[in-house]
Every structure is written in C-alpha cells, then in structure tokens.
Amino acid sequence: MRSLPSILFPMVLATLPGTAGPAPGDPPGTLPSSGDDLVEVRVLCDTTNLLPGQSFTIGIEYSIEPGWHIYWRNPGANGLPPEIGITAPEGFEVGDVLYPRPRVFGAGEDASYGYDGEVVLLVPIRAANDLAPGPVDLEFALEWLVCKRVCLVGAATRTLRLDRTLPGRESTTNPAEARLIRSWAQRVPRLIGSPQPRGFFARLDDRQHLLIRGIAGASKDAIYLPGGTPGVAPVQPGPVRGSVTNGRFTFDIPLSVEPENALGQPLRANGLVLLGTYERPRAYEIDLPVVPGTTSQPPAPPEG
C-alpha cells in the first residue's frame, strides 16, 4: 500500500473566478475540496473474538454522497478501484477483495462500473495458527476515487480491535455486522460452473468469440461486463447485452486478443454475467484462459 495522498491546495475550480460552477444540484460554493467529505467509511467484522486459525470476514462499508460514485475492480472507461491496505499481525492471511455486483454508469465505450449509495467490499481473513492471548489490532489504510462530473480522491485510516477467544470458549459473532456482511456476500458474483452458466470459445469470422450460455430464469436482461484483463477485451468496448429467449441467455462476444498487450500476464477472458436487478442480483464470474486462435468444446445445454 502506498502512502496516503496529500491534497496540497484547494480545488482549482473553486479558486479561480469565472470557472466551473458546481455540479448539477450543488448549491454554489459547496463543491467539496476532497473526497474525504463525500464518502464515509466503516470497518465491519463478523466476529468479535478469534480462535487460532479461525476464518472470518471483514467488510469495508462505503456510504457515498448522493450523485457520486466509486468504482468496481474494473472501473471501465475511466476511474480507479478503491485501494484497501490491511496491516495484520504476523501469521494472518489476508485474501483478495471480493466485489459485489457493480452498477453501470454511462453507456457504450464510455461506460464505467461502480457503486453509488452504499456498498460493502469484503475481505476474507484467516487468523494466525499460533494466535497469542490478548487484543488483536488490524490497521486499514483506505483510499478511493469518487466521481460525479469531477473526481476527487478520499482517504481514511481505521483500526479494528478484536480479542483472542479465551481458552475453552467459543468464538462470538457480531450479529448486526455479520448480518450485513452476509447480505453483501450474496451480491458477490459466483464463479462460472457453479453450476452454470457455461462459457467457451469459437472462431467465427476469423476472430475469436467468447460464447456464454445459461439459464436466465425470470430475468429479462442479461449483461456482460468485461473484467479488464490486459490483452483480452470485447472488440466493442463497454457492457455487452446478451440475448434472452425462453428463459435462457446467450452471449456471442467477438474478442480482441492481443498477446503483446498482456503485460506478461496469462491471457484470460474475465468478466461478469449480470442477471436480476441490482437489489436482487444474480451474477456470475467468467474467468477462462484464452489460447489465441483456438476453440473449445461447447458444453452440453444447461439443464432446466
């Protein structure tokens, strides 16, 4: 985690005469000078005390000023995902950040992906096996880019103190925060193949295509959001709308596959299939290795 940014002088557009007015809905002179004022952050935890080796989940709750938004792990055409730096005692294992289903802001090649209102990003953690008695402090260094018409950087630090469970006692949960974390965990997309949808590759029109098929259920819409892996992207940038017929969805996404732009990383087709609504979402993570020019066997039609 890099050091927190220092905002050294007030926003240019607030200091120069005759320059930008406030964004729509903002009274004159009220545009904030930093993103600190636009996003409140709170660290949640589903447990209050720990057993050695216990797995638990941290939630970083962002409460965002109306009209502004922060970004998903792939921000889309512009923006940056939030940065979450966690300093934990030796022996703790900190997992990757889990992102709930994002919203789409804008359209087409200018679309960006993120969250407005409230969102909780989740971080799975495993306590050290040799956890010593006494308090356990986890330090959080948080940064975010928050945008409306203009963008501002915000930053905060937080400390979470947990206790090691006394010998012979059970770990105790924090019911309110555990409930909130569980509800946001349900919005985290499931990986492909659990048990559907299915993705595979075909070579059509001299170009590699990503084909995805699955059961749409009651959803009338199916949207694919590219994950932003370097070297692989839909030929047409931005979200892709799938076809939904008889309760099943299909995507046929022509891909641009450019090994020279992969930055040394494996070529992967990565993204989300979004079904349902933002509030009642069903979302699947697509993450498939890409071998340029090859095809893979289409899976059997989905059950149901």
Partner: protein, 215 residues
C-alpha cells in the same frame, strides 16, 4: 482493446484567432471514412495553446509526438496531489528520459475539459495557465474547446497518453505508467522503441484517471 479502434478521420481547426479557433467547431479536413487506430495515421489537429499560439500536429512531421490528455481539476493530472503525474514529478522524469533517448521528441498536453467543467475555452485556458504555473509545467497546453480532438482520438481519461511516430502513425495509447514512480512507463518505452526502429510493445495499456467528457 477498449480503445484500440479510434474514431474519425483527419480533423483541422480553423485558426483565425483565439476566439474563432475556440468557438468554431472543428471541421473535417476530408471525408475519409476510415477509423484511426494503432498502426494507422493519427488524426490531425490544430489547436491554440494557453499563450494563444496555434499548434498543429503537422508542425512536427518527422518527429515523435507524445500527447497527454490533461485536466486542471483532476487529482491524477493538473490538480496538485500525491497522485498527480505532474506534482509527483513523473512527467518531469519522463521528459528528461525522453530527451535523452530522442532529443527531437515533442510533448504536448491537450485539455478537453470545457464540457466537464462547464467553462469556456478562454476560462479553461486561464485555469490551465494557473495550473501550469503551480506545477511548473513548461510544455504547451492546447485547448480542445469543443472536445472534437478528444473524440477523434478516443481520449477517455486524464491522463490518457498517445505516442505518434515521425510518419504520423499512432504507435501507442493508454496508461501513462503503472501508477507509481517505480512502475513501467509505457510512454517512454514507446518512444524508445520508435527511436530504435523497433516494434512498440505494448501498444495499449488500459488508461486510468478522471473521465474525459465529450458530450
């Protein structure tokens, strides 16, 4: 890739004077339907800088030209912050290294923020001059008053970089660097490859930063 296919053919701004240049829409120089893209001719332009001087891409035939999309209110760009490529010295470092590799290479900033910041081209020019003074920017800042050049190049963020070789061919676009001083500088790598007569790789890295608003 997200930005590999760029829109529009060659574009030219009429440059009869400051006001005319910045209030008149950019006009198409020809009706060529081809889309500009990596390996193809970069869109032509003529824009006024903050000193009222007309600057054309065609002024630099035979030279490598680096374009950086700029915004005075963006904390990654022209607003002083711990993340700005200008206030953290990363642009100065790039310019120094670039001049060592290719003394003839040209670096231009383009600001297309009129719609985003709801200001006139003249007001934007004043803001940019002020930001340049605070950040010690000495390279020209060109005012893309009606955002047509941003549309033509498909500029999405500030910063968003474009590297054009001496033949006017777009060879790289995307991220300035990997967002830290010790990360690869893709812009410098492209200039080096062009100077060495080799292939540029990568030709595109996803851009990051504040959004460019063109509508």
């Amino acid at each position: 890739m997200i930005m590999k296919t760029l829109v529009s053919a060659a574009l030219v701004v009429s440059c009869l004077g400051w006001t005319a240049a910045n209030s008149a829409p950019i006009q198409k120089a020809d009706d060529a339907p081809a889309k500009a893209e990596i390996g193809k001719a970069a869109p032509q332009f003529t824009l006024m800088d903050t000193n009222g001087k007309a600057v054309s891409l065609s002024d630099f035939k035979g030279k490598t030209v680096v374009l950086e999309w700029f915004c005075p209110s963006c904390p990654f760009s022209g607003r002083s912050s711990g993340r700005s490529i200008h206030s953290t010295g990363r642009v100065k470092a790039l310019l120094k290294n670039m001049k060592e590799v290719d003394p003839d290479a040209v670096y231009l900033l383009i600001d297309s923020s009129t719609k985003k910041m709801r200001v006139s081209p003249e007001e934007l020019s004043k803001m940019d001059a002020e930001a340049a003074k605070k950040l010690g920017i000495t390279t020209p800042i060109l005012i893309d008053g009606d955002t047509s050049v941003a549309k033509a190049y498909g500029a999405k963020t500030t910063p968003h970089m474009f590297v054009i070789d001496g033949n006017g061919i777009l060879r790289y676009h995307g991220a300035f660097d990997g967002r830290s001083e010790d990360s690869p500088n893709y812009t410098l790598d492209a200039v080096k490859s062009i100077k060495a007569g080799g292939d540029v790789s990568p030709t595109y890295v996803r851009q990051w930063g504040c959004g460019v608003k063109t509508s």
